[in-house]
């Protein structure tokens, strides 16, 4: 049975800091407002939905305890709608989408919502750690190194210079600014409101339009301290061809820390008929896989090939690629390995400009690709993210 995307919405992304516009909004509230918006703009009988799956990269504290179910009830959805939490680090939001699609494909579900949320200002990175980073026996013997070190390892091994990564970052900012100016996101953005119903934020707050390679060159490389603290030794143990790590990443060419949520409604053709909704895209294939965990961030190329193979497609069959901009080198390497031109990748800008609300990003960029395919009259898109500990997930969609 085919699975279709019927609609999607996302919040704007607030700076993930105490002075960010969304800092006062709880994680469950972000999802609640999206669920309500999606329901209301489609006049949806929520009892037609089977499940809401929300991915979170830090399902602890206020983001724990199956936030999805709390949001379902909080949004006033039918109590029959189930809720589930998924966690595959940064890919969580896309995995939630794939999990709904897979159950529709399998015929065990008619429709559901997949998405993600992360309030990085409220559940700061590190609240959820785990054995892979912090159990000495596991971390040491599996050559754990932080992601920034992995990003710099990619730059070192692939020969990306500071100018290369800064150039990519500046272009992400340029594309994001242009996309906002042209209103490319307006169909998906649901402004976030506060307790008394006033709008707190209606645009991506993290962007720095006008960023140039010149202005980025002033930023100090961020991960040299970690490298010298021992993680450069870890990197060399795994990759002895590294003479010295080249530290090129910093806040300006890495994904921004932000708050936000995104959700995607997926269902079968029959569901669409019953709900009176037209499908916008078919979910063609999806895949997840693991890759070398120390460098951590190179799975997207492999998982892209896997998803393409599942769909019996070639690299050239995809019109638009969207790879989460965890770090500039991740995308540069992806384009190099798969030989994809930059004008097919992240055409609306990415997380370097607009931010990466960890668990939410996968769902957000699924929506961005769909909107952009529709706007530009193109047909196929591939969405992928690298995730911690060498993981990666990809999804291929096709407009119908």
């Amino acid at each position: 049975m085919d699975a279709y995307i019927f609609d999607h919405v996302r919040t704007p992304r607030g700076k993930g800091r105490p002075d960010g516009a969304l800092h006062e909004v709880t994680s469950v509230q972000l999802v609640t407002q999206l669920l309500q918006a999606l329901r209301d703009r489609n006049s949806l009988d929520t009892a037609l939905l089977d499940d809401v799956i929300i991915g979170t990269a830090q399902p602890v504290g206020e983001q724990g305890g199956v936030l999805a179910r709390a949001a379902v009830l909080n949004a006033g959805y039918a109590q029959s709608v189930a809720g589930q939490q998924v966690h595959r680090f940064c890919a969580s939001g896309l995995d939630a989408v794939n999990l709904v699609a897979a159950q529709v494909h399998a015929g065990v579900m008619h429709a559901g919502i997949g998405g993600g949320v992360e309030s990085m200002s409220r559940t700061v990175m590190g609240y959820d750690s785990g054995a892979w980073t912090s159990d000495p026996d596991v971390a040491f013997h599996n050559y754990y190194a932080p992601q920034g070190i992995g990003a710099d390892m990619i730059a070192t091994l692939d020969g990306f210079t500071r100018e290369d990564v800064d150039g990519f970052a500046a272009e992400s900012q340029r594309r994001a600014a242009q996309s906002w100016e042209e209103g490319r996101f307006k169909g998906a953005i649901v402004p976030v409101k506060d307790v008394i119903g006033e709008v707190l934020l209606d645009h991506d707050e993290h962007m720095r339009p006008g960023t140039t390679v010149e202005s980025l060159s002033k930023l100090k490389a961020a991960f040299e301290g970690l490298g010298k603290g021992g993680f450069a030794n870890v990197a060399k143990a795994r990759y002895p061809e590294i003479e010295e790590l080249s530290y090129v990443h910093h806040g300006g060419n890495s994904s921004g820390i932000v708050d936000g949520s995104g959700i995607v409604m997926i269902g079968s053709k029959e569901f669409g008929e019953r709900a009176g909704m037209k499908p916008r895209a078919r979910i063609v294939s999806y895949a997840s896989m693991g890759s070398e965990p120390t460098i951590m961030l190179t799975a997207p190329a492999d998982v892209t090939k896997k998803a393409l193979k599942n769909a019996k497609m070639e690299v050239g069959d995809i019109d638009l690629y969207e790879l989460n901009e965890a770090f500039a080198s991740v995308v540069l390497r992806y384009m190099k390995v798969l030989d994809i031109p930059h004008d097919k990748v992240n055409v609306c800008g990415g997380a370097i400009a607009m931010g990466h609300p960890l668990g939410a990003t996968g769902a957000m960029i699924t929506g961005i690709v769909l909107d952009e395919l529709e706007r530009s009259g193109k047909s196929t898109g591939l969405i992928t993210l690298c995730a911690a500990n060498g993981l990666g997930t990809a999804t291929i969609i096709e407009r119908v």
């Binding site: 912090s134 159990d135 040491f140 993680f231 061809e241 003479e243």
Partner: protein, 708 residues
């Protein structure tokens, strides 16, 4: 009880004094534990005892476990028996702290390892106010962890930061620091310790430890849900990578801390014992203990010294040649209280040699580690001169002039014309055969090699080379002098490059060979470092400059002709020389040395040595270790080294062969001679006869005869 006694004073406080009947130090051993258990039981059962003072009858409180016992763990214990061994000591400490009596450790001298663990099990620790009386848990340095409660008590007493820093460094701390860290409770002068202990006991302290009180909760008990704690574990685990991946102890220590903090105390102790068992039964701890403690100690106490020769006193020695080596030898001799006549061709050159001592001591003085008076005293012992007549009355001559047989011969004759007929004459040559040099001597039986390593004041090893005519009495004098310098001697027989230089060369030539094969240079360097070599072979060659190893090869070809197997790295060095790059001193070799920033591999390398992807890092690592190990085996076969201990000490302290292996011969033993030979055959097939095992080694493999 042989090793301790209990006295009960009128105030109701008992004193348990540890006083090992067989050794100069109190050591944790089976006998000690048995007596302690007995003493604890007696004390617990005696209702008249109101508190206990635990102290030592020796100058030190307690040095720790008996390494002669621990070194046997690898071959004699199973994981289960090693666990039981650790639990026994843990149970002893636990019996103390749950005895219902309050214990005070009166730490009258240094307390390390098991000694400090014993003190940690007491309810209060008083350390003597004396800079030499340090406390610490240095087990990591012998490939172990504090296995009788040390990891668990320290985290509960001092917290995460202190426990990780102290246990991973193995650092001992002095009184003021120990007090600041909270690992001792008071630091008082020796005379007041007993009174201080009684005064504290008189306050009627609680005999129940905090972790035995119901409801006790260590903050770290919540584990990784504390973000700062989780981040700390992540960062610290990463930092362990700096010491490489060959040492199992550091990360096991961290695991004990992490896992134990979450558990109730007794459960935590069992987990600690399990990690301890893994370390004790691993070859790494055996290798480190055997070579760096037992063999090193024995060598320093004169294991290789011929019996029956009276000990030589050194009042005045002559050092001929005030270059880098002569200058260093003069310094360490003067530091050891010996007067030095430092001779060079003119007074100015000799004075320049002395200025090295002035520089080194000046730095120490600036750091405050030595007084100005002491600096003056040491410097006054060195007389720079060009006058051989001043050598009159010298107890020893050490020649360190240019490496040229004729020059050395002339100097020998000049000196022997002045010095007493009984004086031993030593050459610090690193390349010329001692027996050849001895031909210039009127007294070849008194001629010997004393090969110091550079920088002399920092390198602990001295390679003593016997010529064919060197007498046992001469060897004894040389060993006495090395002992006077508090350095570690090994004794070898004459051979090209003696022992250390000969084997060390195989490392650098292997690096050159890999370059020829197309292995990327960074991989070569990292593979060598990954096995624990302090510096990669290409960087080492750059420091040496290529002329020296090439000269050695030329000499060998001259002397041995076609019999000589030209080392595999020669071709690479020649190609580099042709590019005008012969090492750091010539402006660059394999590396560039920019004025700013660190050295970088020369970008032109790949033009001369095209890189291929066809290499296996595991095999590169193996080759570095095997090349050195099999050359050492040859030295043992040829009797260049007479004992395996000397072979291993020379490897670890002479050229930095990794301590986790225990040295080149321990490394072969750890692999197993039979497996080593099989692998050598495979490597010889693939890379050449330098890996080919001899009939002698095959015989050892066949009969299962190891090197120990």
């Amino acid at each position: 009880m042989r090793h301790m006694k209990i006295e009960i004073a009128a105030d109701g406080f008992a004193t348990l004094t540890l006083d090992n009947a067989d050794e100069s130090m109190n050591l944790v051993s089976d006998a000690f534990i048995a007596e302690m258990m007995d003493a604890i039981a007696q004390i617990a059962a005696n209702e008249s005892i109101k508190g206990v003072i635990l102290t030592s009858g020796k100058p030190a409180f307690m040095a720790g476990a008996d390494l002669k016992l621990l070194v046997q763990g690898y071959e004699t214990m199973t994981l289960k028996s090693a666990f039981a061994f650790s639990q026994k000591a843990s149970a002893m400490h636990r019996a103390m702290e749950t005895s219902g009596k309050t214990w005070v450790a009166v730490i009258n001298g240094l307390a390390l390892g098991g000694g400090f663990e014993l003190a940690l099990a007491c309810h209060y620790r008083i350390l003597v106010d004396d800079p030499k009386s340090v406390v610490g848990l240095p087990e990591v340095n012998v490939g172990l962890l504090p296995g009788s409660g040390g990891t668990q008590r320290l985290i509960r007493i001092a917290g995460m930061k202190t426990v990780t820093e102290l246990l991973l460094s193995g650092r001992a701390v002095n009184g003021p620091e120990a007090l600041a860290l909270g690992i001792v409770d008071a630091v008082v002068p020796a005379a007041e310790m007993d009174a201080a202990a009684r005064a504290w006991l008189a306050t009627g302290p609680n005999p129940v430890k905090p972790w035995d009180v119901k409801g006790y909760a260590l903050p770290e008990q919540r584990g990784l849900i504390i973000p700062e704690y989780s981040a700390g574990m992540m960062i610290t685990s990463g930092s362990v990578a700096k010491s490489g991946y060959n040492l199992p102890a550091p990360i096991a220590i961290l695991s004990c801390i992490y896992e134990g903090a979450i558990l109730p105390f007794d459960k935590a102790l069992t987990v600690e014992s399990k990690y301890f068992a893994k370390l004790l039964t691993s070859p790494v701890s055996r290798n480190i203990i055997r070579t760096t403690f037992l063999s090193k100690g024995a060598a320093e106490r004169g294991a290789g010294r011929p019996a029956g020769v009276p000990k030589t006193e050194f009042k005045k020695i002559g050092v001929l040649g005030a270059g880098m080596m002569g200058a260093g030898i003069a310094l360490v001799s003067a530091q050891a209280g010996v007067d030095v006549i430092l001779i060079d061709r003119d007074v100015e050159s000799a004075a320049k040699g002395k200025s090295y001592s002035e520089t080194v001591l000046g730095k120490q003085s600036a750091r405050g580690t030595i007084s100005c008076d002491k600096v003056d005293t040491i410097l006054a012992r060195i007389t720079p001169t060009d006058d051989f007549a001043l050598l009159e009355g010298c107890d020893l001559i050490i020649e360190a002039v240019f490496e040229d047989i004729d020059i050395k011969a002339e100097i020998t004759r000049k000196a022997e014309a002045i010095i007493p007929a009984t004086t031993v004459y030593a050459s610090n040559t690193s390349t010329l055969p001692i027996s050849t040099l001895a031909e210039a001597s009127a007294r070849p039986d008194q001629f010997i090699g004393l090969h110091f390593f550079s920088p002399v004041d920092r390198m602990g090893l001295v390679e003593i080379i016997k010529g064919v005519k060197t007498s046992p009495a001469t060897l004894a004098v040389a060993l006495d002098f090395v002992a006077k310098l508090r350095k570690t001697p090994i004794v070898v027989n004459d051979s090209r490059g003696f022992y250390t230089s000969r084997v060390f060369q195989t490392l650098i030539h292997e690096g050159g060979a890999m370059l020829e094969e197309g292995v990327p240079p960074a991989v070569i360097e990292n593979a060598a470092k990954a096995v624990g070599m302090p510096v990669g072979p290409l960087a080492l060659l750059d420091e040496l400059t290529f002329d020296l190893p090439l000269k050695i090869v030329e000499q060998a070809i001259e002397q041995e002709g076609s019999k000589y197997i030209v080392p595999a790295g020669v071709s690479a060095m020649k190609k580099m020389k042709a590019q005008g790059r012969s090492g750091r001193k010539t402006g660059g070799g394999f590396y560039d040395y920019p004025a700013e920033g660190g050295k970088k591999l020369w970008s032109g390398l790949s033009d001369i040595f095209p890189v291929s992807a066809d290499y296996d890092v595991a095999e590169l690592k193996q080759r570095f270790l095997y090349a050195q190990a099999i050359e050492t085996a040859r030295c043992r076969e040829e009797n260049v080294i007479e004992t395996s201990e000397d072979g291993d000490l020379g490897a670890v302290y002479g050229w930095g062969f990794p301590a986790w292996t225990g040295g080149t011969l321990s490394y072969i033993d750890t692999i197993g001679v039979a497996k080593f030979v099989t692998e050598c055959d495979r490597l010889a097939q693939k890379f050449g006869p330098r890996f080919a095992p001899s009939a002698w080694l095959r015989e050892r493999a066949a009969t299962g005869t190891g090197f120990y």
